[in-house]
């Protein structure tokens, strides 16, 4: 039971759900049904993209993040805010102010993930230089893209960049450094990402490429927003003067789509964002027609992480804020490239194991029966009105036909089939 809970990023609050079906229609993998009156999630098909969360008008789809009780268990609490944080509090607030305010809300240490984003950009270039095939290499940054590939495009698993995303690298470095420098046992250090991402919690509790995540939890930008805003309003002037940490313009740029490929000067690269456009481009890769592309940045949220469902600021405003910061902080390198090369050689950034294919179950284990079921599904579909009204509780007529074949619905559940 608790296993299922942890394994996925969202749950339906049945008290709040009014059964409108918006989530069901938005779901790219057809994991949701509204049957009989409330939405439910087939976790077997869920890829944690958060589309349902985004469209729910009643906040009935709830993200699962780390509770404050769980964070307080750690003696030494470290926050690593996603670079998206810098886009959330308006164009006047500078990064150092936000980092200091975060510390004040109850963390012992705040480390700007943007620095590691810049570092990871170098690692990508290094990987592409050292490995000439296969192509295109697909970014490993977005946890949902990896899940999407596992489920819908299993044959592309070997194209995923075998380098950990910035949040894992940041936590790995911090845990080691803090425990050594401050003499604190690793298990007493809690590293928490402040995240815009609905899938982050799952990638921490069930990492695909590590035995155990280096992070200890994630909380949403929404969760910290009010507290940080109150501090910023009160103490803005003094906070701005605090903190001398270097701010990475290159790293902050990773909050928006295209931030990952901006630095790839010598490699043909493409950036795609949004779940449907990502599916489309991956279909192209699967057909083998995109081998001219060397690096493919895919981010599930529209316009990249600033479009994450756990953010507060309008994503277009957020994008403008990020662009402003990248102009201010420029392209000046903040990370020592020799250190990156040395760590790269030690495999410090690498996956412990590759992303494994996990294709959706076919219509039947037995191939002959699966074909029969597919034919039956088509026959049923032909009889249906093809209006995709969703009243039966399935997102569209073709999915309803499949539910009928699999015994999960009856033909009479379709109001057009009743008489």
């Amino acid at each position: 039971m608790s296993e299922t809970k942890l394994l996925h990023s969202v749950r339906v609050n049945k008290d709040k759900c009014i059964g409108c079906g918006k989530c069901m229609r938005a779901c790219p993998t057809k994991a949701m049904r509204v049957r009989p009156q409330k939405a439910s999630i087939n976790y077997e098909r869920c890829i944690d993209c958060g589309e349902c969360l985004r469209v729910c008008p009643n906040d009935a789809i709830e993200p699962i993040t780390t509770s404050s009780a769980d964070i307080n268990k750690f003696k030494y609490k470290v926050a690593i805010p996603s670079p998206v944080i810098h886009s959330q509090f308006g164009p006047q607030i500078m990064p150092n102010g936000i980092l200091s305010a975060l510390k004040e809300i109850g963390f012992d240490y705040v480390y700007d993930e943007a620095l590691i984003c810049e570092m990871q950009n170098m690692v990508i270039e290094e990987y592409l230089d050292k490995n000439k095939s296969p192509r295109p290499i697909i970014s490993s940054t977005c946890p949902v893209v990896a899940r999407l590939i596992q489920r819908l495009f299993p044959s592309l698993c070997n194209l995923i960049l075998p380098i950990e995303p910035p949040f894992e690298i940041a936590a790995k470095i911090l845990k080691k450094e803090i425990s050594e420098k401050q003499n604190i046992p690793k298990e007493e250090i809690g590293i928490i990402e402040i995240t815009p991402c609905a899938a982050k919690m799952v990638s921490i509790s069930h990492p695909e490429t590590l035995e155990k995540s280096h992070l200890d939890g994630a909380i949403s930008i929404k969760d910290v927003y009010n507290k940080v805003m109150i501090i910023l309003k009160k103490e803005e002037q003094s906070l701005m003067l605090q903190g001398q940490s270097p701010i990475s313009g290159i790293g902050i740029g990773r909050a928006i789509a295209g931030g990952e490929i901006r630095g790839l000067k010598y490699h043909q690269s493409v950036s795609v964002s949004g779940v449907y456009d990502t599916i489309k481009i991956l279909e192209g890769v699967e057909s083998g027609k995109l081998h001219d592309i060397e690096y493919l940045e895919c981010l599930i949220c529209p316009d990249g992480c600033i479009g994450g469902p756990l953010t507060v600021e309008n994503r277009f405003i957020a994008k403008s804020n990020i662009l402003k910061l990248t102009r201010i902080y420029g392209n000046k390198k903040r990370v020592d490239s020799n250190r990156v090369k040395r760590l790269y050689k030690e495999d410090f950034f690498s996956f412990e194991s590759g992303v494994k294919p996990k294709p959706f179950k076919p219509l039947d284990k037995d191939r002959i029966l699966a074909i029969k079921k597919m034919n039956l599904k088509r026959e049923i579909f032909e009889k249906l009105p093809k209006r995709d009204c969703g009243i039966c509780g399935a997102p569209d007529c073709i999915t309803f036909a499949e539910d009928v074949v699999q015994g999960k619905a009856k033909l009479e559940d379709c109001i057009f089939m009743k008489k």
């Binding site: 279909e283 699967e286 057909s287 076919p362 191939r367 002959i368 699966a370 074909i371 597919m374």
Partner: protein, 149 residues
């Protein structure tokens, strides 16, 4: 042999329709995923089908792609009405192409289609008559290991 066919579907391909080039291969791929064909077989067949489809669009007036699934194998045939191939051995050489500059500018006609199909197929057969058309047969063997749990 035909009595053993457990699934059959045809797709029409229109010569010169670069807008929809790849649609049939894509539909075919989704069928194979739904019935649980092994990931690697789908990948190889989808690449071969895409190349074949693009060839019809590029060089022929019209074509039919057929998928026949038998208990032990998948047979993909692509038959077209078009200019045909004069020298098949030459056409099978990587990089050889008769494509016009215009077609190359669209990103097609690199001369890798036929060799790529052969590379991905378990069995590959091709026959052609100049000014009539070309017929391709791509076979993928299925073994029982390919039934997914």
């Amino acid at each position: 042999m035909d009595s053993e066919v457990v699934f059959k579907q045809e797709f029409e391909i229109n010569g010169g329709d670069f807008v929809n080039a790849g649609e049939s291969a894509s539909k075919l791929k989704n069928i194979l995923k739904e019935i649980g064909i092994d990931t690697d077989i789908i990948r190889r067949l989808a690449i071969a089908a895409y190349e074949a489809e693009v060839n019809v669009v590029t060089y022929a007036r019209h074509g039919i792609m057929r998928i026949l699934i038998y208990p032990e194998k998948i047979l993909l045939t692509v038959e077209d009405e078009g200019q045909g191939i004069k020298d098949i051995d030459l056409a099978m050489q990587p990089g050889y192409s008769t494509a016009t500059d215009e077609i190359r500018e669209m990103g097609f006609g690199a001369g890798l289609g036929l060799p790529n199909m052969k590379k991905n197929a378990d069995i590959f057969n091709i026959s052609s008559t100049v000014d009539k058309g070309t017929k391709l047969e791509i076979t993928m063997n299925l073994n029982d290991k390919n039934v997914r749990d």
